[in-house]
């Protein structure tokens, strides 16, 4: 019987072939892993950028930059915006008692709409002044600072639940005279949106809220990481031209540049962050036009 087995040559050839195949399989696995990591980072980064261009317009489109009294946009910069963020809506149940720049207003406690009640430490009010009911050319939103924590009473008609708010810094002075029963009242706080660098040098989109007496509060991270200067604002008026006048803004352009948290290996072999840019525009919905 013939039981010769392999010769040495056959064995060597088989070994070389096996090595070649194993090597190419290893290369395939390596490139698979590289692409997988890159795609994971890319998906995360694109989710971030997408969140930025969804979140920011929904915040900014509520603003009103058309009133002559004051604009809801407080500071407009290329990489930072401070604005009056509406937080609550009430209605007047008794015409305010006013003495020029100060006053007291009583609001229906129910129904009230919004995220929360009026916070004396953070909030100010916009009160709708109807003035002469036969014309709308004198209608305006009166600005007023809330001086203390509002008191909960039952001072509305029929002893209904009420919120009594004391005001100062009324602007325009004496404007509360035109506020009538049933007028809407909006509570707002001042919010700033911007990018900042953390201790590791990564950039994030953050916001902070203004507190009376102690200034801007701690930074609240919203999303990230972003590229350096990864948030750019542009401001346009009703003709579509760029504007620097915060009473003329009709549209805010927002550009968000995301950067992956980890550097990934590119085909060239270099380690780079994945970067992508999304641009969006937000037309200000509360602008009132003549």
């Amino acid at each position: 019987m013939s039981r010769r087995g392999f010769t040495l040559i056959e064995l060597l050839v088989a070994l070389v072939l096996t090595t070649l195949v194993a090597g190419s399989v290893y290369q395939l696995l390596l490139s698979n892993q590289r692409i997988y990591r890159q795609q994971t980072e890319r998906v995360e980064m694109q989710g971030n950028v997408r969140a930025a261009v969804t979140l920011l317009p929904s915040e900014l489109m509520e603003l009103n930059a058309s009133d002559t009294v004051d604009s809801d946009i407080v500071t407009m910069g290329d990489t930072l915006i401070s604005y009056k963020a509406m937080r609550s809506l009430f209605f007047v149940c008794q015409p305010p008692i006013s003495a020029g720049a100060t006053g007291t207003v009583i609001l229906w406690r129910n129904p009230s709409y919004g995220l929360r009640g009026i916070d004396g430490m953070r909030d100010s009010l916009l009160l709708y002044a109807e003035n002469d009911p036969t014309t709308r050319s004198d209608d305006l939103w009166v600005h007023a600072n809330v001086t203390a924590t509002p008191t909960l009473e039952t001072a509305c008609p029929m002893a209904a639940p009420s919120v009594t708010v004391t005001l100062d810094n009324v602007w325009p002075v004496g404007g509360l005279v035109g506020v009538q029963e049933g007028s809407p009242v909006r509570g707002f706080e001042m919010v700033q949106l911007f990018t900042y660098a953390d201790v590791a040098g990564d950039y994030w989109l953050g916001s902070r809220v203004f507190t009376k007496g102690s200034g801007w509060g701690p930074i609240q991270p919203i999303l990230g990481p972003m590229a350096q200067a990864g948030l750019q604002f542009a401001y346009f008026d009703t003709t579509g031209a760029a504007t620097v006048n915060r009473n003329m803004v009709a549209r805010v352009g927002i550009q968000a540049i995301g950067r992956s948290a980890q550097a990934v290996r590119r085909v060239s072999g270099s380690m780079e962050h994945v970067v992508d840019t999304l641009t969006t525009h937000a037309a200000l919905r509360n602008n009132r036009r003549q």
Binding site: P57, F236, T238, T239, G240, A250, R251, L278, T279, T280, H281, A282, A283, L284, R285, R289
Partner: protein, 115 residues
């Protein structure tokens, strides 16, 4: 004696042919999938471009809204404005032309902007 004849050449050829037809179908479906992914990407980018245009028109007062066109990167955007009956709103149609491997493709987006 065991029967050790194996397959004939004809049998093998038929088997290869059948296998080949099956593989061709698989390859074709992969191509269709790739094309559909490309279409989806193009459509979502075109809708983002159209959304920007809607916001731009929304920030313009109604009497100043006008038809127009603009090249935005690879996208050719054209828009037309038509006053809705009664004049209380403007109907806006935005057409985004985007380049594909098979020439330009047009996507149409329609919205109404109140005055």
């Amino acid at each position: 004696m065991t029967d050790n004849r194996g397959f004939t050449v004809v049998e093998v050829l038929i088997a290869v042919l059948v296998l080949g037809i099956g593989l061709l179908g698989l390859v074709a479906s992969a191509a269709v999938t790739t094309r559909m992914i490309g279409q989806g990407q193009r459509y979502s980018e075109a809708s983002a471009v159209a959304g920007q245009r809607f916001e731009m028109l929304r920030s313009v007062s109604c009497p100043n809204m006008a038809d127009g066109s603009q090249q935005q990167g690879p996208y050719a955007v054209s828009w037309s404005v038509q006053t809705v009956a009664g004049g209380r709103a403007e109907g806006v149609t935005v057409v985004v032309q985007s380049p594909t491997g098979r020439g330009m493709r047009a996507d149409t987006f329609v919205t109404t902007i109140p005055c």
